[in-house]
Point group: none
């Protein structure tokens, strides 16, 4: 009585690929054998090999270049988290949580960026506010995109952008006009302590009202 569950071919291929990578000590950027070669060497149909490679590609372990080949990739969990999050978002009716969680991320980004914001950055941010003064949405997005980049936490930014995209489909929000300039003021005065309260807003306990403008449809 063997416990070895009959694996699908594409799963076997993945395992074989792992062994291959291990044996040959492949690093990110290195080339994998071609689909046809793998198909032959592993005694599997090319379609099965492709199923394996596509799956690895989707989760970001492998990069495929048309006409060139398949390459081992510097792993980033972003695509995966992104994809999973999108499914999770659809599965539950958590659209209410969306706006609030997004705001949390924005607050943290604003605080994280604090240490890395220079005088020229503040000028940049002011320029962003000016250019987008007519459209509060693009202003908000551009403003925080800059801050998130300053945090140098790519994962944080990815999650935020994802939420941003989703929130646009559900419910658009932005801060009041004065918010952005107040934040910049805190930056220029090196006043870290005032950032958090700025996001919490004047009305303690209330989560979305006060500093927010909500345009839902």
């Amino acid at each position: 009585m063997s416990f070895s569950i009959k694996q699908k071919v594409y799963q076997e291929v993945i395992k074989e690929l792992q062994r291959y990578i291990e044996r040959n000590n492949l690093n990110p950027g290195d080339k994998l054998p071609s689909e046809r070669e793998l198909s032959e060497r592993l005694n599997a149909g090319r379609s099965s090999v492709r199923e394996a490679l596509r799956a690895l590609e989707l989760i970001g372990l492998v990069e495929t270049r048309h006409g060139e080949g398949t390459y081992l990739r510097e792993y980033r969990s972003f695509q995966t988290v992104e994809l999973l999050s999108s499914f999770i978002l659809r599965q539950d009716n958590m659209k209410d949580d969306l706006t609030f969680t997004k705001k949390i991320l924005e607050k943290e980004a604003a605080k994280l960026a604090f240490a890395r914001i220079s005088v020229s950055d503040i000028q940049e941010l002011k320029a962003i506010l000016d250019v987008n003064s007519s459209n509060p949405l693009t202003k908000h997005r551009a403003f925080f995109k800059y801050l998130f980049e300053k945090t140098e936490n790519l994962l944080l930014m990815k999650i935020w952008s994802l939420m941003d995209e989703f929130s646009h489909a559900v419910c658009v929000y932005h801060f009041e006009e004065s918010f952005y300039n107040t934040l910049l003021k805190h930056y220029s005065e090196r006043d870290y302590e005032s950032i958090d309260p700025l996001f919490s807003g004047p009305s303690e306990g209330e989560q979305l009202r006060g500093i927010f403008s909500l345009d839902c449809f």
Copy 2:
């Protein structure tokens, strides 16, 4: 002149599936159309549809039963984490982002939960600490799971568990022994202001050192 980047068919199929799930409001356990039907409806070859489904299966979003069909699945990381971990080990540039971002979420959860924590909750949390006193990892997970549930922000919790699962495959961390009790002390003394600094730790500016114990492999 269209700017739409030419996507691969299997990626389009995934997107279509997401839309389909959204439209029909499918929940975990519900059945997806058959491969052949999808192939027909989306004007794609069956092999392309399979590439999409296999990829979704690999990351655990979808479950396939031979002879029955393909079903939407309650997300579980299972194989994904195991698979990714073996790939990730050499590449640790994402490790910092993940751990750090996860910590941010935990901090926010601790603060959000503050308003909703009752005396009995504190007892519950103490019990959790006692029961898991031997294993710092399960203790950390159980402790914060409770807090995240208290926030009643399902999205925040989902994202956190996602990261938690991923982070376990990469690098395990937990707080120092004293951390949990200190947090509970703040709760019982209704001392909201001290929560944030507790997470920031004694060494200002340093992100991961100090209050953390990092067991990487």
